[in-house]
Chain length 433, copies 2
Amino acid sequence: MRAVDIIIKKRQGLELTKEEIHFIIDGYVKGEIPDYQVSALLMAICFQGLNAKEQINLTMEMLHSGEKIDLSSIQGVCVDKHSTGGVGDKTTLVIAPIIAACGLKIAKMSGRGLGHTGGTLDKLESIPGFQIAISPENFFKQVQEIGIAVVGQTANITPADKKLYALRDVTGTVDSVGLIAGSIMSKKLASGAHSILLDVKVGDGAFMQTLEEAQVLAKAMVNIGNSCGRTTVAMLTDMDQPLGEAVGNSLEVIEVIETLKGRGPVDFTTLCHEICIEMLLMTNFAKDELEAKQRIAMVLQDGSAIEKLRQMILYQGGNPEVINDYQLFAQAKNIMTVKSETSGYIKKIHTHSIGDAAMLLGAGRKTKEDIIDPSVGIKVLTKVGNFVNKGDILAQIYTNGKEEANALRMTQQAFEMTKEVVQKNQIVLDIIK
Amino acid sequence: MRAVDIIIKKRQGLELTKEEIHFIIDGYVKGEIPDYQVSALLMAICFQGLNAKEQINLTMEMLHSGEKIDLSSIQGVCVDKHSTGGVGDKTTLVIAPIIAACGLKIAKMSGRGLGHTGGTLDKLESIPGFQIAISPENFFKQVQEIGIAVVGQTANITPADKKLYALRDVTGTVDSVGLIAGSIMSKKLASGAHSILLDVKVGDGAFMQTLEEAQVLAKAMVNIGNSCGRTTVAMLTDMDQPLGEAVGNSLEVIEVIETLKGRGPVDFTTLCHEICIEMLLMTNFAKDELEAKQRIAMVLQDGSAIEKLRQMILYQGGNPEVINDYQLFAQAKNIMTVKSETSGYIKKIHTHSIGDAAMLLGAGRKTKEDIIDPSVGIKVLTKVGNFVNKGDILAQIYTNGKEEANALRMTQQAFEMTKEVVQKNQIVLDIIK
């Protein structure tokens, strides 16, 4: 077998066999096949695609390239949730406590943010003292005892994906359905949960810009997951405006706490509930939607959901008092306001720009080496379809001075107005099982 | 400027600017842009193509990456000829003496063979003593004095093309019209001649399998040449059967001498004459086809064409007596015959297989390091459309024993027979100016 022949085969649009995919991935991880052959193959894949069989074989190769987390020692039903990333997406931190309070186990390894999207680990680290680096023993112990843990990746899972992703990033081969699906699903499979809920974001602030693209990706991932014996459901959800109000780490954690207290923004609260419903249904923890809704309402009302968050903070070294006293979070020095310059309906919120503006303030990273300022960010106080009067506050900028003027200008320009009535966005666009 | 953005731009099918092409090629030659980004870009080019403007800019970048041969010190009109390569293609060695005898100057840098196609330098080296490594001074002096030289490349021309070609070879990105055209034309432009005749081979034994593909490549190359101020003509010629009879180095040189003596195979003789006619016309050395034909007939008849070959052999250290005594060439130990197993018409000759069979015998190289045996090869004694009786000799195998059985079997199988009348191949399929 020669790598060049496999490249030519894919260039011609032919299906690669399991053995050929193994030859490439295994050879690449071992350093026997050079970057330049793999990048040419990746580009050929971007044009010719990978069919369902190839996607499964690629995913399995990447899965088997590294360690796998074995959750079988944990009693109960372990679920996992993955978001393709968006602006203001703090969903994990609300749904994990709710479903843990409902009796499911969530042993989640999460990631950091890059570019305009935030990362759950960065958000958690805005809680004073919170540790995301937990030993495997303590991780398992925590999940067993309180049913919830959100930690950084410690095990060397899917090294093939890491190497491939780094190459894709610099060779213009990131956005290819088969490669994205394989990358996400190999990590999810390696993380061990038997039920996987995928939140596929759609819109200006997301990786997938259109519903059609997102559906193709979602179907690919659900197919891989189900083919590998995991119950997998994908929800396609709106990212044509920031999710909730808060964009920025401590601001988002505060919004999480407010949401668990029943005072969260409507769109974000709705999404969290919808995801929890699906998770209870897919694990047979509720027999129908009505029962699922009742269970969720109960754990929110009786405080057991927020108690799960408190326990997790405590177990992971953080100060759980933040739940009652938001002043314990790092505070931005200054809050600037963005006001509407005209009266009218909000036609569009350029979500990617809001994410970039927050990044410039210090809430995110332009490069992996950048250091996050947990206190800064943007609060987007209106939604697409709302009517606002001239002078109404559209957004607040929480700033410590960094790139303040640029962030202010970008945020101001992110709002598109019209005199005509605009329909409000739906939060859940589709569910693929 | 970032390489990844240029890759993505081409992936999206957009035109790359002159500056972007410069950034890539210059950065690649300097080692600032890594192989893996260039190979991804090459694959994107294979799918999205290069338009005429991009082809010219790529060619010019490669041209300017190295030394250029300045032929301005040579008095007279310098012409160059390039073949895209085929089986039994010894055309240069016939046309160069003819046009030199007609008064044109041909200062040709030629190449070696690889795979199923032969190289002019390998053929010349079958002449005892012949030197292809000539100093630039002697090269210019020889062309000035006798009007003809065929040598190996000494100057460091188009290093960018060399580096790119090596990468294309191992990344499945060889066959892309824009890349092929740029590669060939950058070398031709660097070689200095102001009139360039391109012999684009079409068919089973050629790189381009169909007339349509070959036309696209020919038009691209002619456009680049003409746009860069060189008179460029492309002839599309048949490679659906070996050219002439001889395949193998000394066998081919003997056929060259026979052709200059007026006793060459019809197809090969016709092709050589047609190419010479075009060269005389494009340089205004003949006012029309009739005059061109007369001049060619004259230099063949009066012996001045074969005298040019004799002079070249002499100047380049070879023994010119080979022209009169073919026993001075290395002789194969054994000649085996391939006979027809049925009666009928020759429907097809698998030319690529004939080339491979000759290579196996030692006439060509599987890898760059292989050593050529000048004495071995194959003589194909019939043509597509000929009627043969059972037992007629189709081919002769000149062998020293190496891979003899395989070569014999491949040659036997290369002939496809039919009971129905088959049309004979036309040698010149199209001319693009």
